[in-house]
Symmetry: C2
């Protein structure tokens, strides 16, 4: 079997991106790179649906999360974080680590935060300077109701809304300016479809005001240094040049398709995946599932680690297992990025064959049939 | 003309590395990546000539310099930095930025630090906890006498010696353990011959002791988190996977050739370049030149910015101009990485043709002849 990657980062890299990245390396202070950097920055505005700034760092998404904390906050600033998974927890750890006065709404893994809980918190803590939230929590496959939360934060406080959009930007509907999100962070290896190594921070004028007052030490991740360099069409430090070249090509693909069509596509792939695994007799883990990835409970009678390994070794399909206390309890299938309906049919087929190998009782073919039927209905409706 | 890159980072990427990086992307928590990560880490020990640890970060070299400061130091720690160029200055800025009690030996750009000045400083400031030094100062093309300095630091203090080896590791003789260097930093786009986006920190047991006492806040660049992940054959955060795959191939090439032979090769390419440009009637900028790159003064009667542009546009040769106050005054030719003697002959030829285009008076052919003669002598001696 050939290898097929369905992990929620890295996602599959399109052939066009591979070809672009295989070109001879260029110098990052020359006109060719400057042109690419400008185009990429402009397209990222479209990607985030903002007229604000977008800064791109050579780091993983975690680096950009840290960048947001150290550039937006000052020591002892009261902030709210929402932790319902590993990445929400990471936002809390980052805020605590840098000395913010950190309050956290803890929610059970697999559930979404109740927007009213944020409203109640803000009413009690009117001096909160920022709310940090993961839009799509990659560890649990849960999506937050970001549009509602943004409205609440905007109407009930002066706090900035800082969103980890690492597995949501370009995948779930995300309208930064229209919804009133102040800061959004993403990574290169998710909806942007290129290998990991770049991370982006989009921020508006309200966020820049906070940056002016921040007293936290920073250097590599300094927004103001990066913005000053961007005005000269380059980066503050030597960038991951090949990844920028790949990013330009990926953003071309995203422009060609159009964000609205991509959002619809991902919603469809997600629906088909969810209904397909249900038809195999499996349960979903997330109560408010994200259309970026589907987290599936592994039945008690199946060894979860062995199941994921078997799927990879026998059928070439790599999905992600669970993290932290969910290890061996769930697996996670990505459908964000370079995937289409037939990829999901192939994935469902491998899943069925693996389940059969583990003597799981279900009607073989039912999952694949369900997935295909959903695509057929969608095609018929066009 | 086809494009030829002679910038001191990024340097030319070998075809083998391009091919390796064009393979389908893999997941960074799977066994294939773990294997690559282990091999790369082991080979990097050889590369730095150390039995200590080597941690690899997804960032530019500057990120790894910052990592060294925030992991090794505590606030108000007395440190010594040496600034004789842009990168020495950056070390000073980083130490100051994070609140170290920073003393700096300023030296004129183009000159190397006198090791005795470090000895004198340490005698006066016995509580100095770390000395930060750029081995090969990329902005000026100057090499420091690292072996002598390391001996002085070791014999006259308890201070750690932290070396920016970004344009020296793998190029100039560099024996971390034998010489007594405690921490060494490099980037991926120099002697390691891959695109930018990875940066390495090698550190010994003495350095780890300091890490234990450091009270500076850190997260993305946390040595202890990275080391804990390495014990599980992976990285703390999502790594730039394709660059790791390229790095494995580049390190294979370095192993095949052997470090000693590479050091000899670079010394020869550097000597030929220096003698070649002298034969064209040009002067060298660096008084103690590094064998990684050659900085050449641009004669007053030639417009330096136009000359570099002309070399690139007419002959396809990209060299780097001067930085800061050296802008337009010098240009810098790299010979670290994937270059051989014939590359330097081609570069010398383009340089001669460009000089002629700018009506510079010299004997055309003299530079190319000199370069070739040095290679012929070397071949005859074998």
């Amino acid at each position: 079997m050939r290898a097929r990657l369905f992990t929620p980062g890295p996602t599959q890299v399109p052939e066009r991106v591979h070809v672009a990245m295989s070109n001879p390396i260029m110098h990052h202070r020359g006109s060719a790179f400057k042109q690419i950097y400008q185009e990429v920055t402009e397209d990222l505005r479209y990607f985030f649906q903002t007229i604000g700034d977008v800064l791109t760092f050579t780091s993983s998404g975690t680096g950009a999360l840290e960048a947001s904390v150290v550039n937006l906050l000052s020591k002892n600033d009261p902030v709210l974080t929402v932790a319902g998974g590993k990445f929400g927890q990471r936002l809390s750890q980052l805020c605590q680590n840098y000395g913010a006065n950190t309050h956290t709404i803890e929610i059970p893994w697999g559930e979404a935060v109740d927007p009213d809980d944020i409203k109640t918190f803000l009413a009690k803590h009117p001096k909160t300077v920022a709310v940090f939230l993961a839009h799509s929590e990659t560890s649990t496959g849960v999506a937050a109701d970001l549009q509602t939360i943004a409205e609440i934060v905007r109407q009930n406080s002066e706090a900035l809304l800082v969103v980890d959009a690492i597995t949501s930007a370009g995948v779930l509907p995300f309208k930064m300016d229209e919804w009133g999100v102040d800061v959004a962070i993403t990574g290169s290896q998710k909806g942007l479809m290129i290998p990991p190594g770049l991370a982006m921070v989009a921020l508006n004028a309200r966020a820049w005001e906070r940056v002016e007052h921040s007293n936290m030490p920073k250097f590599y991740f300094d927004f103001k240094k990066e913005k000053a360099a961007q005005e000269k069409q380059t980066t503050a430090w030597t960038p991951a040049i090949t990844l920028f070249v790949g990013l330009r090509e990926a953003l071309n693909m995203i422009r060609e398709e159009g964000l609205e069509r991509l959002w619809e596509k991902y919603a469809l792939l997600a629906e088909a995946t969810r209904e397909g695994v249900r038809a195999m007799g499996l349960e979903l883990f997330a109560k408010s599932p994200s259309d970026s990835l589907t987290a599936v409970k592994i039945p008690d009678r199946i060894d979860g680690l062995k199941f994921v390994q078997h799927l990879r070794e026998k059928y070439g399909i790599t999905v992600a297992g669970g993290q932290a206390h969910l290890k061996g309890k769930i697996f996670r299938i990505a459908h964000m990025g370079y995937y289409d309906s037939l990829d999901m049919v192939a994935m469902a087929s491998a899943l069925e064959m693996s389940l059969s190998d583990f003597a799981w009782e279900f009607e073989p073919g039912s999952g694949v049939y369900t997935v295909q039927t959903i695509f057929m209905k969608e095609n018929a409706s066009k």
